[in-house]
């Protein structure tokens, strides 16, 4: 397992998660997350090399629906939820970069 969590790691993770941390919060979360990850090192007490991962406890496969159109939501209801709507669309401030 990797080295201890650094302040830079936390800053990077916050950026990825679209959260802004103050300097104090950065310190606090570095310590707290570090403790949790430290505890997680107990998983290394077992040799898990040959164990397959399980992402989900649900064993059913091939769950599909038929290709049938069902009613959509009323546009006015949907746009009424929006913080800002213009011209029947969701309005956002300018986008700085292209989508990946």
């Amino acid at each position: 397992m990797s080295d201890a969590l650094s302040r830079d790691d936390v800053a990077k993770v916050a950026r990825l998660a679209r959260l802004v941390l103050s300097e104090d919060e950065l310190d606090l979360y570095t310590e707290q997350l570090g403790q949790i990850l430290e505890h997680a090192r107990d998983m290394n007490s077992l040799d898990l090399t040959d164990v397959l991962p399980t992402a989900h406890p649900f064993g059913v496969t091939n769950v599909v629906r038929e290709d049938v159109v069902t009613p959509s939501l009323d546009r006015e209801v949907v746009l009424a939820m929006a913080p800002h709507a213009v011209d029947h669309r969701f309005a956002v401030p300018r986008i700085l970069g292209e989508a990946p």
């Binding site: 959260l19 898990l48 939820m81 913080p83 300018r94 970069g97």
Partner: protein, 474 residues
């Protein structure tokens, strides 16, 4: 307080009415909600209209369903059309869903009356209902203590006799733990037994909706209504609801029950005593109780606190200020998303989002998330092996009785350790329930936990009923 079973019988027979039952509920809420902070929203008008409609249907001679006129409280992470749904978060403040959760449709179809939305730890992340943007909920049995969490509001609603039954959601113990701390029956069903459609996700591979009730029979009654295949949830078991109420009094004669050392080791003395007494009671009712050890369970807390945050970090990405809920304005869209999420989420939610983001990020995935998935495999296999030898497992639900407000908020790890007995079954996807048995410190209730393999709910209810009777609630 009448049981839900009794209310439904009275309403169907005309001995009582949905309106009368609702008004009694509204009166108790009026009396106690300010002190306990159980309900975030009470849908007085909607509930009165629904109750009146049920009474009219009864008057016309219609069968209004197994929950006829039963007032029910709903955890505020369940979507109900037109009713504010917040997850106890500022980020969803004011949002009213345009659709119903499947469980709410099923409750309403069964004649239940949805009274309102109950407080929770923000996005169901917590074990005390102190992580709510709208203030903590207090334990009705001792308001200086927490009701447990994250479904603390739904537990308190039943414990305070506001409603006979309520719904919670359980990702790592969020139904069973508050049930134990409030002296209730709380059920975490088999993964896939109850549709998650309309449950605002915390950790999708772990979340299940389940009931709180004062009696085993009431819990079975509600779960029977909730269960059964739903085409809107890909992880819904492809089979109809099992018969549960009919099996509540099946007893445990001939059952083999494993008392799991890892599921009570380290708990308070009174808790351990209750678990051992429960084992004796089951033995007295004809079960064979054997002590078992499942060492793999020691690792489940670590695995859980990587898997659940990882899924949550993705599930909670959509709260970005674009389509619904809170927006904090900023110059560009990235800054707007950051400002919105920073202002909208509380500290525990941020902590878990960052933990999960880290666990999934490049370079750390294998060491953390990947490793946790392997522990999950071990957990599933270990339970499966245990269930080859025994029909059910027995342990504690929580390490202690209800603790004081503020006692565990300083250090996240201390709070997380509260979930150590409840987490394993979520990882395995198996069912478990907590049933009150005995008392501990300050006369507060202790919950013991019964666990079973997938789809063993009927067996669990029958065993819980044995304990209920042995604990003096015939």
């Amino acid at each position: 307080m009448k049981s839900a079973t009794q209310i439904a019988a009275d309403v169907r027979s005309g001995t009582s009415s949905a309106t009368a039952e609702l008004e009694r509920t509204l009166t108790v809420i009026e009396q106690r909600n300010a002190e306990l902070n159980v309900f975030l929203y009470v849908d007085v008008e909607g509930a009165r209209a629904a109750a009146a409609q049920i009474d009219a249907r009864v008057a016309r001679g219609e069968d209004v369903g197994p929950l006829a006129g039963v007032p029910i409280a709903l955890k505020d992470n369940l979507c109900q059309v037109g009713v504010p749904t917040t997850c106890s978060s500022k980020i969803l403040d004011g949002w009213r869903p345009p659709y119903n959760a499947t469980v709410i449709e099923r409750l309403l179809d069964a004649g239940a009356v949805a009274v309102g939305k109950t407080n929770l730890d923000e996005f169901a992340m917590g074990s005390s209902t102190e992580n709510s943007a709208f203030g903590p909920t207090r334990n009705p049995l001792d308001p200086s203590r927490v009701p447990g969490g994250s479904s603390g509001g739904s537990a308190a609603a039943v414990a305070a006799d506001m409603t006979a039954v309520s719904l919670g959601s359980d990702t790592g113990g969020s139904i069973r733990q508050p049930a134990a701390l409030c002296g209730l029956v709380g059920v975490k069903p088999t993964y896939g037994l109850v549709s998650r459609y309309g449950l605002i996700a915390f950790a999708s591979s772990l979340d299940q909706i389940g009931p709180f009730a004062k009696t085993v029979a009431d819990a079975a009654l509600v779960l029977e209504v909730l269960a059964g295949h739903d085409a809107r949830d890909s992880t819904s078991l492809p089979e109809p609801a099992p018969r549960l109420v009919a099996h509540v009094n099946d007893g445990v004669a001939g059952r083999r029950i494993g008392l799991v050392r890892e599921l009570f080791d380290g708990a308070d003395e009174s808790v351990v005593a209750s678990v051992r007494a429960a084992a004796d009671a089951l033995r007295a009712a004809g079960a064979e109780v054997v002590e078992v050890s499942i060492p793999e369970l020691a690792l489940t807390l670590s695995a859980y606190y990587l898997i659940a945050p990882a899924e949550a970090s993705s599930n909670l990405a959509r709260f970005d200020g674009v389509r619904y809920g809170l927006r904090v304005s900023a110059e560009d869209v990235t800054a707007m998303m950051e400002a919105t999420r920073t202002a909208g989420f509380g500290a525990e939610v941020k902590r878990r989002i960052m933990l999960g983001t880290y666990a999934l990020s490049a370079g750390y995935y294998d060491a953390y998330y990947g490793q946790a998935l392997k522990v999950r495999t071990l957990t599933i296999d270990a339970f499966a092996r245990a269930y080859q030898r025994v029909d059910l497992l027995l342990g504690a639900t929580t390490p202690s009785v209800a603790f004081a407000l503020g006692a565990k908020t300083a250090d996240p790890m201390t709070m997380y350790l509260n979930d150590v007995f409840t987490i394993p079954t979520n990882l395995a996807g198996d069912p478990a329930l907590s049933v009150p048995f005995g008392t501990g410190e300050a006369g507060l209730p202790v919950g013991v936990q019964l666990l079973g393999p997938g789809r063993s709910e009927a067996r669990l209810f029958a065993a819980a009923r044995v304990l209920e009777i042995a604990d003096g609630r015939p």
